[in-house]
Amino acid sequence: MKNSRIWSGFSTLFASLLVISLLGQNLAMENASYINSALGVSTSKLVDIEAGEAVDTTYYKSQFGDFDDPAALQKLLAAEYEQNINEMREGAALLMNEKNTLPLTDAVRISVFGHAAVDPAYQSNSAGTKVTNETENAVTLKMALEAAGFVVNQELWDGIAAGEAKRGELNSRGRMSVNGSAKGSEENKAFYEALTGTFANDYKDAAIVMFARQGAEGTDLKMKDEDDEGGATGYISSLALHKNERDLLEMVRANFDKVVVLLNSPNQMEVHEIEPYADAILYIGFPGHQGFTGVAEILRGTVNPSGKLVDTYATSSLSAPAVVNSGTDTPTFLNLDYMHEKIGTAENADYMSFQAENIYIGYRYYETRYADAVMGKGNASGAAGASYGAASWKYADEVQYPFGYGLSYTTFEQTIDKVEMDNDTITVTVTVKNTGNVAGKSVAEIYAQTPYGAYEIEHKVEKSAIQLAGFAKTKLLAAGESETLTITIDKYLLASYDSTAHNGEGGYILSEGDYYIALGDDCHDALNNVLAAQGYTTADGMTADGVAAKAYRFSQSFDDQKYRTGANGVIVSNQFEECDLNYWIPNAAKYITRNDWEGTFPVAQTQVNVTDAMLDVLDGEWYVKPEGAPTYQEVADRFEKDSGLTLVMMKDVPLSDRETWEKFIYQLTVDELPAATAESFTCPAVGDLSPSFKVGDGCDSVGGSITRTVNGEEVKTATARYCSNPIMTGTWNVDIYTGRGTMMGEDGLWSGFMINYNVGNDLHRTPFGGRSFEYMSECPTMNYLAAIPQVEATEKTGSHAAPKHFVGNDQEFHREGVICFFTEQAFREGNLRAFEGSVRVAKSGGIMQSFERLGLRWSSASYAMNTQVLRNEWGWTGAIDTDAAGARGEFDDHVGYKNHSAEVLAAGTQEWCLDGSYGHGKAIVKRAQEEDDGHLMELLVDAAISWEYAISRSNIINGMSATAKVVQVTPEWQTQLRHTVIVLGVLAALCFVMLIASKLKKKA
């Protein structure tokens, strides 16, 4: 071989490797936060500059004991799983129980059917700890049943486990990826027929059948799904029973006297199709680590179910008005070519969801239409929106199980003792008596009806005929035992947003007229009680006669002043007029009004042409340097001033002491400032002010693992996966909500998380939401009320709570950039109200925003939402974080709807999620320099103050003395990577020199 070829070969090899390592190094540095998180390495350490007298620096302690005590960790884990099980014990809702089939007190030898039984959905794909049958500490359905004393048909179980049914598709790595379809999720008829021998003569005490439905982050359940082979030829809803499931139920029904169906689905299946084959139906959602224990206890009867639905189970999952323009059926603009020609495709602006339903989501639609049908108002009985092509709309044909519904093994009698009013609250006293034979818990559900009269019709103020107002749950009541509950209702929850109030400025009003406070077993029962109090009966078309004594009436005069102001006297006024499609294209579309159901129910999708005026906003560029802004240098000169302040010194400094906070921040260099805008799984240290730390993420598990040394070895234990949120919310138990908040906070505390993005407050706008399992319910008031104790409990632990996805992320399909059009009333009383409990009332430490657009602006770039509502109206001071919006390096070309960094910052957003290399922050500094814009720099300082304020109120300061300084350290992998690049560079250069030399030699 010639010398030149040898050196040519080596040059090619090393030069190629050099390029790979160089680019790889860049890539690794851009993604350093993920690598550090995966490797568990920190990029900072603490140095105590003055050894002072020993003080206890564990500012946030665990209620389970010292962090270095293995026994404390065991107590924590035990408490996590107990919380998980309690959620199922009190959150699973018994929908049907014919002939008292449940509990299975005497059943011993049972047969379990359904692919989901052997391969359950413990959760769906999103953030947080993942649980499978094999996961440490996971309790499978079979384990739980056996622990409850059942003997499970093993041969049948093994036979089903050997099947091929699956929920989703195998991805490129051979893993199952959820696709929102139910096709093929159950074995076919022939498969089960081959197993009939396993239960022909034994295991006949009862049959348990489990079905599952799963969406995922980024994947809604399909509104147009395919049936199993041999089934319907057209599209069916993914929430409808599919052919294989129906065949299975037929076979089981024919072979067993007792058939119990478990719904392993947080999304509302079309249960009416299951009922003919079942004796009992139990909704169990996703169980998390050990929720099946609670399921088995309910089946056995050692636990009496007390869960109540937090979603409406409609007969047809496609019957809600919100379904028409959303989810997997979300339409696009009509003139996409024009849009792409004008602003390109990177702005992700193709899809638009016109929220024609107005305020009528979930039960607020079905029950309001029912009330109007009974009262003969608003053309409510018309055909528009009637399911299955019916000629008229009838409640009994539309709703299977209403919001708030759930059976018990005992019976209760509930009575309103008294209702007391004061200026701000209504206090309802309810006595609950267990009138049955076994102990149980009961929920006192209090609903309200507010007036819908001439003013409301004229001013387009919509009213739900019934709305949740408050609730309380009893202790375990023995047979014959009573308990008196007191429920306090905030009158604010009865106010309506009127965008025409105050001469068009808008604001909340209390309508004039009769108000009703009603007790009910569910929302429909409560409405019937109100209707009874108004004189209506079954003769008017009611589904049942109500009990007038369970409704309390009071009168209110018109009041548009009571809720006129928010925090610090800020006037509450219209902020979201641009989010109404009719603002851009007059009379382009109709929102539902209960004054005319027939004329406004969306019977077809709404699609429009995007206009030039809309495109001007959609291009995302609107920031201009304000007049009078300081120069870049004026602000830059304030930096690098050592004030001697440390993070611990700031832990008691209020935000109102702006001067001290600025002194703290101005110790940084300008180059260090952008790090304070970076949120990621491992957040970077901010200069020498605050260290690197991790964050938790997940609404039913904060993820992460707790590492402790046991017998000299490091042991990692994953934090618990709790039940899906509709199950937790469905406990209607404030103690359970508090417990969830406490345990998630403790999980975060032990994992070293500064903050946990752990509270799912978005609404179940339709039954198809891919992340309904993470979000609480379809009712904004329920989310408001349930989140308060959860967030308050988490905040007490020193690991902050942050609700997500603020706000309006109620579909996964094209969630990135989807344009949502709505009325201001619907948004404020719906999406915003659902978060208001977490944020304004419970004062969460942060929020995570969402991907969709509010009107034409990305939620993170909405000044109305982030500054006007959050900061001004609500007076909230937490950290505002985008959803995933990492920038690569200093990439900021102003193209792509998440790359308008200055606009996002100017809107009030202060952190970029998964931007561990703080590309957005760097891009803003660069722009501030280029445009001599000190205002942008000051906004960055504001962001840094918010971030450091949150850090200073968290467990991150544990172990830090008042004199502790943060020193940044370079992780070992970065050093090794740099060395590799240098070595390869030298080798490549050497070989190239040798190549040239050999060529010259040959030439000579």
Binding site: G9, T12, L13, I20, N26, A885
Partner: protein, 132 residues
């Protein structure tokens, strides 16, 4: 008459793989995958270099191999860097800011790129032609 040496076949292999990569990238891009224009330019330039190796032992042959290797390395790492979220989301079974369905193509493109680099490296070591 000169016969084709081992280097010729390695260069031919590298060139074919580069063409395959270009075709795959068009498909990948058509499905929404992010491909920077510089990647196409780099690959076309690499293809020209690899093709030049097919002409036999030329004064530029030693350098053409180096350039082809470097450009292919650039293209491979750039494509995988731009497709990192496809892979991450595919692994986690979620859909966030990437296109998880394209993860398989990302793996394929990385594999082909690395084999292509190896091929051009071997081509650089080996004779492109030998005397008959």
């Amino acid at each position: 008459m000169k016969k084709k040496g081992l280097g010729f076949y390695f260069a031919a292999c590298a060139a074919i793989l580069t063409i395959v990569t270009l075709v795959l990238l068009f498909v990948y891009s058509g499905r929404g995958g992010a491909v920077q224009n510089t990647v196409y330019i780099a690959l076309v330039a690499a293809l020209v270099c690899e093709a030049s190796l097919l002409l036999g032992e030329k004064p530029w042959s030693d350098f053409a191999g180096i350039i082809a290797g470097v450009l292919t390395a650039y293209a491979t790492v750039t494509v995988v860097g731009d497709g990192l979220w496809n892979i991450a989301e595919s692994i986690n079974g979620i859909r966030m800011i990437g296109i998880p369905e394209l993860a398989g193509m990302n793996y394929t493109l990385v594999g082909i790129g690395l084999v292509s680099i190896l091929a051009v490296t071997f081509a650089s070591f080996a004779k492109k032609e030998k005397e008959a």
